[in-house]
Amino acid sequence: MSKNPEKIIFLVEDNPDDELLTLRAFKKMGIMNEVVVAHDGVEALDFLFATGTHAGRDAISPQVTLLDLNLPKLNGLEVLRRLREDPRTKLLPVVILTSSKEDEDIVRGYTLGANSYVRKPVDFTEFAEAVKSLGMFWLLLNETPPAARAP
């Protein structure tokens, strides 16, 4: 698995159980990349734009952002919309990772510019497998757009 610390995984997840399990899954699958976690929509934007609580440092472009939809303060779709509106984050790879399988959400997600939509399974093993696939694809296989790479 990748041992490249520069490739950061950005996880936007409000549920602490899900957070823990996701991190565990990464570890289990041998993904050693740094994982940054934001617990709500505002924090997510602050991190990506280096504003608010994250002000005072250079903006960081994660290799991939795993975005949950049900977030407090600002929900996932709203976060996505704002990311896509800003030229700095317009091309950022975003994977929606959520419990909902409703067509509405899927359509809206893609319409707003998500790169991918993955449903969180209940079964942990399945979830771990999903995480592994995600990891393999986004961290190793996928080419990020030049502007998104870390300076």
Partner: protein, 568 residues
């Protein structure tokens, strides 16, 4: 020949009102009548005769005929008496009427006026009246005074011939005129009859119209473009007003204020000759409530309006209720959607936790647990997983009820093939004999039909997993006008007497160990079939497989079957 009642004439006094007074009738006859006994005694005489002969009844009754009416003594050639006597004699003998030729028979002026004779000419006819035995009882002497006529003939002696001709002409003319008058009278009479018939017919029609007008349950009325009712039928009483009240009030006053403008516009259209069909407005009843009326009105060139109104208040109320019910149902549906959505998320998240951490315990702290402990953890994990499936299945079921059906032609045969291919791909080692018969295309929702086949074929696949010579068949059969689809397998089957709640959610006929499943599949299938207005039923036997039959549309005429193109 008339028979006279012997008691009838002189004996009876002016009879009772019910009896016909023949004597008065006789005496009033417009003709010169004299009634004689066989002895030629005068026993009755008409007023006209007395007048013409200048005699008085009471002076001549009972006396002999020739005593009363002798010949003119100054007339040497008088033949009156002789001829009359002869005629009467003939009547007595032959008992038949005897007509005399024109006879000169002068009559005397009354003694009070000098008693001189005046020239008279008569055309008499004498008729017998016989009694039961055939003997002559009376003789009726009827005379025509033709004096004027004869004089006319005698008048101009020199031009006797001319006179005769003229007289003849006059006669002829008179005759012709008489004929004409007779014809005219006849024509007039028949015209009169026709007129009477027409009037009678009109009367009948009017009665018919009145009958309909009165009896009609619909409100009928005649009104004017001047804004007033002229005539209303009793059905109008439904509004609570009397006819008088209705005809006195301009009808616009009774119309709901919100409907007045459009009513006036409609009347204006009518005054220009257009028909009104299905125009609706509200009328105020006597008790202040409003009723909706639907109008059909026809104008005539004089500005008279003929209208029928139907009370549609109940229909309007029904419409409103229906609309409200629909809105309520839609609101309920939306609520259900929102509920299902949150259920999905909020229930699943903790499940992930339960499952995930149970697994984490198993993996990371394996050393802390013995076999039993590990088993408990596995059960926790399995339970959470199963709950996840159930939630998904229930969500799926609810979605089927909620979503809009988008019907289009679907080839079920092809769909079945696709589903079975996927099943094969998931278990490449299994050898299953698959038969798919060509099926006519159906008009249905492709997604739902896909789910239907997923479930039914998935079941067939699952329940034949223990069989070495598994066989799954998809086909159709005709029953009357309906196409029945079926999926048959030769797998585990089930006993029919356990299958009463086959399609109820969570009802399973096998344990989880025998065959995994949520118990929602058939409930889902049934719901899909019902949404397509079809029916579903099953036949099975334990260890002998099962066949599931279904139709996809209401029976017979409204079948949503699209003609097949026989493509696979």
């Amino acid at each position: 020949m008339t028979r006279l009642d012997p008691q009838a004439t002189s004996v009876r006094a002016l009879g009772t009102p019910e009896e016909t007074d023949f004597r008065v009738l006789f005496e009033s006859c417009p003709g010169l009548y004299l009634v004689l006994t066989p002895e030629l005694r005068i026993i009755a005489v008409s007023n006209a005769y007395c007048h013409a002969t200048m005699t008085k009844r009471e002076e001549i009754l009972g006396r002999g005929l020739f005593e009363v009416f002798p010949d003119n003594p100054d007339d040497k050639e008088a033949t009156g008496v002789a001829n009359l006597r002869a005629s009467l004699g003939r009547v007595l003998t032959e008992k038949r009427p005897d007509a005399m030729a024109v006879q000169k028979y002068d009559v005397a002026r009354p003694a009070s006026e000098g008693g001189a004779f005046e020239e008279r000419f008569w055309s008499p006819i004498n008729s017998p009246v016989l009694d039961d035995a055939g003997r002559v009882r009376y003789i009726i002497h009827r005379a025509e005074d033709v004096t004027e006529f004869v004089r006319l003939k005698q008048q101009t002696a020199a031009d006797a011939k001319l006179d005769e001709t003229r007289a003849g002409q006059m006669e002829a003319e008179i005759f012709l005129r008489a004929q004409e008058i007779q014809r005219a009278n006849s024509a007039l009479r028949s015209l009169q009859t026709e007129l009477e018939e027409r009037v009678a017919e009109l009367d009948r029609q009017k009665k018919l119209f009145d009958q309909f007008f009165k009896l009609s349950l619909d409100m009928l009325c005649i009104a004017g473009t001047d804004g007033y009712f002229r005539r209303v039928n009793p059905a109008f009483e439904a509004l609570g007003y009397t006819s008088e009240e209705l005809t006195k009030t301009p009808f616009i006053d009774l119309v709901h204020p919100d409907d007045r403008a459009k009513t006036l516009a409609e009347v204006e259209k009518l005054s220009r000759g257009a028909l009104t069909i299905g125009f609706e407005n509200r009328y105020r009843c006597k008790d202040g409530t409003y009723r909706w009326l639907s109008w059909m009105t026809a104008p005539d060139p004089n500005g008279t309006l003929y209208a029928v109104a139907r009370d549609i208040t109940d229909q309007k109320l029904d419409e409103q209720e229906l609309r409200r019910a629909k809105e309520t149902a839609e609101a309920a549906n939306r609520e259900l959607e929102a509920f299902s959505y949150s259920v999905a998320h909020d229930l699943r998240a903790p499940l992930r936790g339960i499952n995930g951490f149970a697994q984490a315990l198993l993996e990371d702290f394996a050393a802390n647990f013995n076999t039993e402990g590990a088993d408990y953890l596995r059960r926790i994990e399995a339970g959470a997983r199963r709950m996840g499936y159930l939630i998904d299945a229930l969500l799926g079921l609810s979605r089927i009820t909620r979503t809009q059906l988008h019907r289009q032609p679907v080839d079920l045969g092809r769909l079945a093939s696709a589903v079975l291919e996927e099943l094969r791909a998931g278990a490449p080692d299994r050898r299953v004999d698959v038969v798919i018969a060509p099926a006519p295309k159906v008009n249905g929702d492709p997604d739902l039909l896909r789910a239907l086949l997923d479930n039914l074929l998935g079941n067939a696949w699952k329940f034949t997993s223990q069989k070495a010579d598994a066989r799954i068949e998809f086909g159709t059969k005709q029953d009357g006008g309906d196409t029945i689809f079926f999926i048959r397998d030769n797998g585990a089957g089930f006993a029919m007497d356990h299958a009463t709640r086959l399609f109820a959610p969570f009802q399973r006929l096998h344990t989880e160990k025998q065959f995994p499943g949520t118990g929602i599949g058939l409930a889902t299938v049934q719901r899909i079939v019902l949404r397509h207005e079809g029916r579903i039923w099953a036949e099975a036997a334990a260890q002998q497989g099962a066949t599931f039959y279904f139709t996809l549309g209401p029976s017979e005429s409204k079948s949503p079957i699209v003609p097949s193109e026989h493509a696979q």
